[in-house]
Amino acid sequence: MSHWLPLAVIVPLVAGALTPALAHGRPGLARAWAVAVTAWCTFATALLTSRVALTGPFSYEMGGWAAPWGIELRFDEFSAAALFICVIMLLVLVFSGPYVRRALPEARITWYYSLLLINLGGMIGFVVTGDLFNLFVFMELVAVSSYALVAVGGGRTAALAAFKYLIAGAVSSALILFCIGVLYSLTGSLNMADVALRLATIESPAPVMLALAGMTVAFLVKAGLFPVHVWLPDAHAIAPTPINAVSSALVVKLGIIGLLRILPLFGAVSLAPLYEALAWLGAISVLAGAFFALFQQDIKLMLAYSTISNIGYIVLGLGLAGELAVTGAGIHVLNHALIKAALFLAAGAMIHQSGYRTLHDLRGIGRAMPWTTLALLVGALSIVGLPPTAGFLGKWYIALGALEAGRPGFAVVVLAGALIIFAYLARMLNAFYFRAPSHEEMLAVREAPASMLLPVLVLAALCVLGGLLGRWPVMLIAPAVGRLVGGG
């Protein structure tokens, strides 16, 4: 029996609750404790992912109660995202050792690691649960810890950015709970598979459409898609670097995975108009995100806007609803997490070492921090989507899906988005490598400390590996895509 599944969710959460108690006298212990727990979670999710790859989706009934009466955890191919979540969180924890000792006041460090563990447990719970209300509870858990982690850096406008993020998140959460209430009122159950079955027999379409529209809008707000992205740039740029990586690479993806969870519920309703809207919103978001990124001087703001653009790619892939396009979207959810984590950690290491944030001030850093800049170069090539890297696969499948669906316009959008980002990155790399430093002390800047450099290099290697071994994730999520597109 796979008790790994519930324990993979419960252990990080309880460990997060124990961190302040254990590390009361010894703040150094908090980080070691967090890294150990996250390593265990990585092992557990790797076991679960290998099991789903071999034997297909499986579920676990909490408390021994059968599905609609108790809570059912359902680990399917999309839940394999839990492995990516654990790997990236492990690297972020290793990275945040020296960074946090300097960036955060002493008293906040234990609570920082406690919040990160709770964030990890909430994300794993979110991707594995098969129960609607459980999904809401874990989404709130991730939300509360993310609001605090954005503000933990204590910058001048950190609290205001966190407050805007909180209001946007809480309004969309209230809307999601309202839609869960509508679905419960219609079907009488909260288990996703059971609700899907019973929704097919509902005659009055109005409440079903309301629940579908409400949840889609709410999850798109949480994913930071263009028209409803207002909270994202400040929240992702002002937070400490490890939190940028966690929120831009992982937390934002929960909105997409939430969408992937609720779309099969509405199999009976014709989803064509919804997919059309998603495709157009995604396309607009691709161009708008890339366009805004072009004008940013601050590296972190640029990376935050490029997240909005890549979320646009994923939503565009979902909107095209073809086999190829949805596979591309699924792949890009995973690969973009690796790429964005590598980019944010590399840029953060540069800011940490040199103290400068804008393109102009960071000129000539290529010579001072060769390895970090190399990792940033690999990340930049991946985000543009050049062939050997991980970013290429997702965009390639989405472009193919657009052509297959007879919508060449969207394929052009995919290309245009990549070109705009390429223009910015060319300027950035030109500044790092070929321009004379605009500040003398840039030459005195030393390479990042080992425990910050190692995760950055590992992530850059994973970006290239993700590109070369791209076949495996595609095969892994193929059955889930088949169910979603076949049933949709």
Partner: protein
């Protein structure tokens, strides 16, 4: 629209939801926005509790003397969790407000927009 009269309670909760949304969007003071958020969340909880109600039903406590139709206990469990979530978010939001006031000296959204 005749059906709406049958569900007049739901209509009232939607109105409360929109009053909360109005307060969040239109009012400038951050504490006022937070109260609007709480009004909106309480309206959603009221909607969920009301969906579990049954005509002439009593509390879902199956004691010796209890009889008659019982209200469904599932929405009550959901709303209990929801209320705890709402107070958690409110506590965090208030501390962010205290931090914003300490740094920017004002709680009016339009003045804060200029401070960035």
């Amino acid at each position: 629209m005749a059906a709406l009269w049958g569900n007049i309670d739901y209509a009232a909760f939607v109105v409360l939801f929109c009053i909360g949304l109005y307060i969040i969007i239109a009012k400038q003071n951050l504490i006022k926005k937070l109260l609007g958020l709480n009004i909106m969340e309480t309206a959603v909880f009221a909607f969920v509790v009301t969906s579990g109600m049954v005509d002439g039903g009593t509390a879902p406590i199956v004691g010796p003397g209890m009889s008659g139709p019982f209200a469904s206990p599932l929405p009550h469990a959901m709303v209990l969790t929801g209320i705890v979530v709402a107070v958690s978010i409110t506590a965090l939001a208030l501390c962010l407000i205290i931090e914003i006031y300490r740094q920017c000296g004002t709680l009016e959204a339009d003045e804060l927009k200029g401070a960035e």
